[in-house]
Symmetry: C2
Subunit: 329 residues, 2 copies
């Protein structure tokens, strides 16, 4: 067989090999598109004991991690030649980054696709908690408007001091949006960002003391585990509101429930939880919380944009070019 011209369709065996790492039966709408470009190795569809599959597993150099399926050392042991993990998600706490660093594995994520959507959702949750949008919807659907007439007043968005924890791609976009509403922005992050005009707080406790509303948009790491604890909630105060579009592990959820139930903080808008899909039952009866099934990052349009960035990262890897969205380990 003659070497194929780059413009012609290659035979399947000549396509670059990519491991598709996904939860069993997790739908991947773009699989036909991926299969047209790569030879997809899918453990869901092949037998673990098939010698051909085992040989490919040992030689595959790139792991495409779909959604939030964990990548840990046990998984990486199965694919010892992997040099690069391409994640479809923005957050990476399902991927053992320390282990990747130790093994010299590069990681790319998809943050730019999702950042706008996450920021939009954070603002939506903030308006919802302050102005009681979901609560009002519940009130109307329950037929209570003609009965009770009066609905409790909400709070103004403008003029509120909003403390953003983690001023990365997402946090910056949240700030930009909230400026349009007349909010006053402050932030906490590992280091102050000299190019940013917002006041910087070197620790979250000081930020919470200053803020009316705290928005969590930082990564989930060992340093940020339970970064919002009892002390931060106390500093935020009885009127304070917490919005979490980061990860559930950022908040001591048990403490948060206690503070909310006892009325020791003002409210919360939560897209993420410590033990998803399980949400603490005691929150179900509260009208000052908005509960959301981890969907800040996901829109139809963002999902449709995934294959392009995924394929650009894969192609960059195989062409020995810099990854499009490489994560600094």
């Amino acid at each position: 067989m003659a070497l194929s011209d780059g413009h012609q369709t290659s035979a399947p065996t000549e396509l670059p090999l990519v491991l598709l790492h996904r939860e069993p039966n997790f739908p991947v709408r773009f699989l036909p598109l991926l299969r047209s470009r790569y030879r997809i190795l899918d453990p869901n569809e092949e037998s673990d004991s098939d010698p051909k599959f085992l040989a490919l597993s040992r030689s595959v150099r790139i792991l495409l991690c779909w959604a939030l399926f964990p990548v840990n050392s046990q998984i990486l042991d199965r694919y010892p030649s992997v040099e690069c993990v391409v994640a479809t998600s923005a957050g990476l706490d399902h991927i053992d980054l320390a282990e990747c660093r130790r093994r010299g594995i590069r990681v790319s994520n998809n943050s730019d696709i999702f950042s706008d959507d996450v920021a939009d959702y954070a603002v939506g949750l903030l308006i919802d908690v302050l102005r009681r949008v979901s609560y009002g919807d519940r009130f109307v659907r329950a037929g209570l408007w003609p009965v009770k007439q009066e609905f409790p007043l909400g709070l103004k968005v403008g003029g509120k001091r909003v403390g953003i924890v983690g001023l990365g791609n997402i946090g910056l976009r949240i700030g930009k949006r909230l400026e349009g509403f007349g909010c006053i922005i402050g932030y906490n992050s590992r280091k102050p960002k000299p190019e940013i005009q917002y006041p910087y707080f070197s620790n979250i406790l000081e930020l919470a003391q200053w803020s009316d509303i705290l928005i969590l948009s930082c990564s989930s790491t060992t340093e940020t585990f339970h970064i919002v604890d009892k002390n931060v909630m106390t500093a935020l105060g009885r009127e304070g509101i917490i919005i979490n579009i980061g990860r559930g592990s950022l908040i001591d959820e048990k403490e948060l429930c206690g503070f909310l139930v006892r009325g020791e903080i003002g409210g919360a808008g939560l897209d993420v939880f410590e033990n998803e899909p399980y949400v603490p039952r005691e929150l179900f009866d509260l009208n000052n919380v908005v509960l959301s099934p981890h969907k800040a990052a996901i829109t139809t349009e963002a999902i449709e944009a995934i294959p392009e960035i995924v394929m650009k990262n894969i192609d960059a890897f195989f062409s020995n070019k810099p990854l499009l969205s490489e994560v600094s380990l």
Copy 2:
């Protein structure tokens, strides 16, 4: 009794007379403040047949209209000396403006206090409908997340074409906020506004054809009655979304319900209805609508700001100065 110095407390009979026009028992938190400044004539508290009350009714020059209690020719007949109506609301469709004009009565409203809150709420409803915030909250509270796992994808806010009907105080503020989300704004109003960069559509049908989302922020008048009819909904199309923070009468609600139930438009966020507090029951089962008990304008902070602007208008009237927020009749 000597003439009192302006800095000393006047005797009650010397305070300027103001008629408080409110729904029976409607709470007016600031009544003590008002009473400290004016002699308040309150039909709720006095007998219609009391000759003293009747005499004051015939001489009172200013009517303070609280919330949305109607002012029509029948009411104005009772108070034949009224020269000025001070409304606490932003919208004025409860006040017969034509009749006021005919009688030479000036009218002031409170639009500037509420405009930011209404604009915030419009954006909140828009994010909610696109991103399914209230629906997600219902989904979690119903305990469905662990059962169904998957929640339907929402739609991206950025890049959407938003047609604003009525680019006044509120519409402009909505546009400004949505620019921060990357929306593309167009508008319809009586006349194009040369200082505005957004594309102008001389009729709502063309605007609806262009728009992904239509936001109603115009006044309710005879010209705007059912401005969103069957033709506009058809032009908006199956994916189109309507946000109404104006008045219920702007939409042919019966048609809207039909379009929503049959899936002939994409969704709606409705703060106002034709027959409040009654909301069409067929909307209660739809997940692509957000229903709200007419509260876009009302926040704790806005309510607290009412007395200042009300008193400034009353004082301006008695000092023969221009009203602070006079409505052009």
